[in-house]
């Protein structure tokens, strides 16, 4: 944004609207081939091909949840061991203090709990939510992204982005409209 022109309103990007997911995916592939890197697709239901076309092949959530679950399981187990054997040892039916089989249910539940919470809060945090305002919401038709329309936004931070050239390029899509997204 080095050649930022003070007289023009700042632009977040250009938003193309499609009526089917396939058209959105095709457009994304074209944009990717043309060398654009900063773009995002928006759809009312998950379209995996769009993420693939953008080069976002796998998400980070698997490792996040795995590590969360691992921490919960080990934490849960050692919590019981430490509390039951050292902090507050109680002889129950002559069992050893490290009676690990009876620690398994709580260990398991702690694993599920922490993995799930890491997943959900991780998802929200990594996606940058809650973000109640976003420049895209300034485009009136974007409301339909949660309903029956599919969108591709090429962002202004893309090094290849140029308002006129990119608009020209996006006119080649089978888009219903191409709108300018004010910053």
């Amino acid at each position: 944004m080095s050649e930022h022109d003070d007289s023009a309103p700042a632009v977040y990007g250009l938003l193309a609207q499609f009526d089917t997911a396939d058209k959105m995916v095709d457009a994304t592939k074209k944009a990717n081939e043309a060398g654009y890197t900063c773009m995002d697709c928006f759809s009312p239901y998950p379209v995996g091909e769009a993420a693939d076309a953008m080069g976002f092949k796998t998400s980070e959530m698997g490792p996040v949840m795995f590590i969360g679950g691992l921490l919960g399981a080990t934490g849960g187990f050692f919590m019981q061991y430490f509390l039951g054997a050292y902090q507050f040892p109680v002889n129950i039916g002559g069992r050893p203090f490290l009676s690990w089989p009876s620690f398994i249910p709580v260990t398991f539940e702690m694993m599920v709990l922490t993995a799930a919470l890491c997943g959900v809060f991780g998802l929200i945090a990594i996606c940058g939510l809650p973000m109640l305002y976003h420049p895209l919401f300034n485009v009136p038709s974007f409301k339909r992204a949660s309903g029956d329309r599919f969108f591709l936004c090429i962002e202004a931070i893309d090094p290849k982005f140029d308002l006129a050239v990119t608009r020209e390029f996006m006119a080649g899509f089978q888009a219903l409209e191409v709108a300018e997204v004010p910053e």
Binding site: D19, A21, D40, C41, F42, S43, P44, Y45, P46, V47, G48, A50, A51, M54, F56, T58, S59, M61, M65, G69, L83, G84, Q87, F88, V90, I92, G93, R95, S99, S102, P105, V106, F108, E109, M110, V112, L113, A115, A116, L117, G119, V120, G122, L123, I124, I126, C127, L129, P130, M131, H134, L136, F137, F142, K143, R144, A145, S146, G147, D148
Partner: protein, 467 residues
């Protein structure tokens, strides 16, 4: 012959009726919440009934907290009574929601799509009702936090070898995981409601709840992954929760309780009663909200009835096993308690249980009955009663264990009944509010299920979408 033909025809029945498209799905499921269309008069009826029953609960609780658990019929030897019966009954009902949302997802069962949202909601409210009972049964419920491990000046910690402590962890985890699973599944639908909102209150409330979800492909990919792993975690979780609930009984050295069959037997019973509740909720929803009947079809009810029947027969196999093991095991106490269970002072409850859970569900062999709303509703209600009696029979075993000097009687008081009816009121009220304020079917998943020519993704499943 005709039946085979009919069932082949049913396999080809669409899961979504009529000509749909992406917008129509939103109109049918979401827009009536936004347009503030008048609720059907039956909604007001059920809400009023539920609310009256909820008031009964509040009254019963106030009196309970004032006097103590002595107002209930519990005493030695039956010290558990209605509180544990209702606890197990409610949590069992909840399990069908997790089964539908998690296990059927992993099994690629596309018919789960339109019933998962309200079933998950049922799970959450049922677990809330379930969790109420152990808390109020404690005698001094304001010390409920003693159940949890927290540093305290007395240096006392939970006893980790006790199934009751496992139960605290299992139920708390189950509730939390069900809640977050339900919520992140609903986030995109909340975004739809936000985008459709017509007044300020709707915009603010749905907008805040949607967290600013904008359907970005990158967010979707993460969302799908989390959803998939949550389903993978929910599957063993649902088994573990009812297994731990059954340990509450099975770890005790009471004849007929101390049995290895308890965990699978309890899980099957939970899913049996849960699917019965799904059917009991789905039939009126179909009837009074005609717009959603296109998505919750007769096919869904038929499948739910089949699952209910299958798990019900597993439960009945459990009854047979219990009796067989008691007889074949040659334990005087096991066999004596079995005879008391069948022909003792509470024998009537055993035969109600057999009638409700074994005899009546046999009607479900018939496709005609599975496709008849009235019959299906009656059979499901009977199954719910039967599963309540199953827990009654198990708990009442305490009245006839070992030697006659340990024997006693148990009778619930009006306050037991008031609390139980009140918990039904809590469930009904919350469920009615859910129908009024939140989408009862997942719009996102139904849209995905639509065929390509209607704008969907042919039911492109979460598994294929979540690398």
């Amino acid at each position: 012959m005709t039946d085979t033909h009919a069932s082949t025809a049913m396999l080809e029945d669409p899961l979504i009726e009529g000509k749909q498209d992406l917008a129509k799905v939103g109109v049918a499921i979401g827009d009536y919440l936004i347009d503030q269309q008048k609720q059907p008069v039956q909604w007001w009826f059920f809400f009023a009934v539920g609310f009256v029953m909820l008031t009964v609960l509040l009254y019963a609780l106030v009196y309970l907290f004032y006097i103590g658990v002595g107002i209930w019929g519990i005493n030695v030897p039956v010290a558990w009574g209605f509180a544990i019966i209702n606890f197990v009954w409610w949590i069992g009902i909840g399990h069908a929601g997790t089964l539908i949302s998690a296990i059927l997802l992993l099994l690629h069962q596309k018919w789960r799509t339109s019933i998962n949202r309200f079933s998950e909601t049922m799970t959450i409210f049922a677990v809330m009702c379930a969790g109420l009972f152990p808390l109020i049964h404690m005698g001094r419920p304001w010390f409920f936090y003693w159940l949890l491990p927290f540093p305290n000046i007395a240096g006392v910690w939970p006893q980790w070898r006790s199934p009751l402590v496992w139960d605290v962890f299992a139920v708390t985890t189950y509730f939390t995981v069900s809640l977050v699973f339900w919520y992140i599944g609903m986030m995109p639908d909340l975004a739809y409601l936000r985008d459709k909102a017509t007044n300020r209150a709707q915009r603010i409330i749905y907008g805040v709840l949607a967290l600013g979800w904008r359907g970005s492909a990158i967010h979707w990919r993460r969302h799908e992954k989390v959803y998939l792993i949550l389903a993978g975690l929910g599957t063993p979780l649902v088994f573990s929760v009812h297994t731990v609930v059954s340990f509450d009984f099975a770890v005790a050295i009471v004849p007929l309780w101390h049995a290895t069959i308890f965990p699978p037997f309890f899980v099957a019973g939970a899913i049996f009663s849960g699917f019965a509740m799904v059917i009991v909720l789905a039939i009126p929803m179909r009837k009074y909200y005609p717009a959603v009947a296109a998505f919750i079809t007769r096919k869904h009810l038929d499948y739910a009835a089949q699952v209910m029947f299958g798990t019900g027969m597993l439960v009945c196999f459990g009854y047979a096993c219990e009796a067989w093991m008691a007889w074949y095991g040659r334990s005087v106490y096991e066999w004596g308690t079995t005879k008391q269970r069948m022909f003792g002072p509470y024998g009537w409850s055993y035969w109600i249980l057999i009638t409700c859970n074994f005899v009546v569900p046999q009607l479900l062999w018939s496709r005609k009955i599975r496709h008849n709303d009235v019959w299906l509703m009656i059979i499901s209600l009977v199954a719910l009663v039967g599963m309540w009696f199953e827990r009654y029979v198990i708990v009442i075993t305490l009245s006839r264990e070992y030697v006659p000097s340990m024997w006693g009687r148990y009778a619930p008081t009006i306050w037991d009944w008031a609390t139980m009816i009140g918990s039904l009121g809590l469930f009904l009220t919350l469920f009615m509010l859910f129908l009024r304020f939140l989408p009862m079917i997942s719009m996102t998943e139904v849209r995905e299920l639509l065929p390509k020519e209607e704008g969907g993704a042919d039911g492109h499943s979460v598994l294929e979408n979540a690398p």
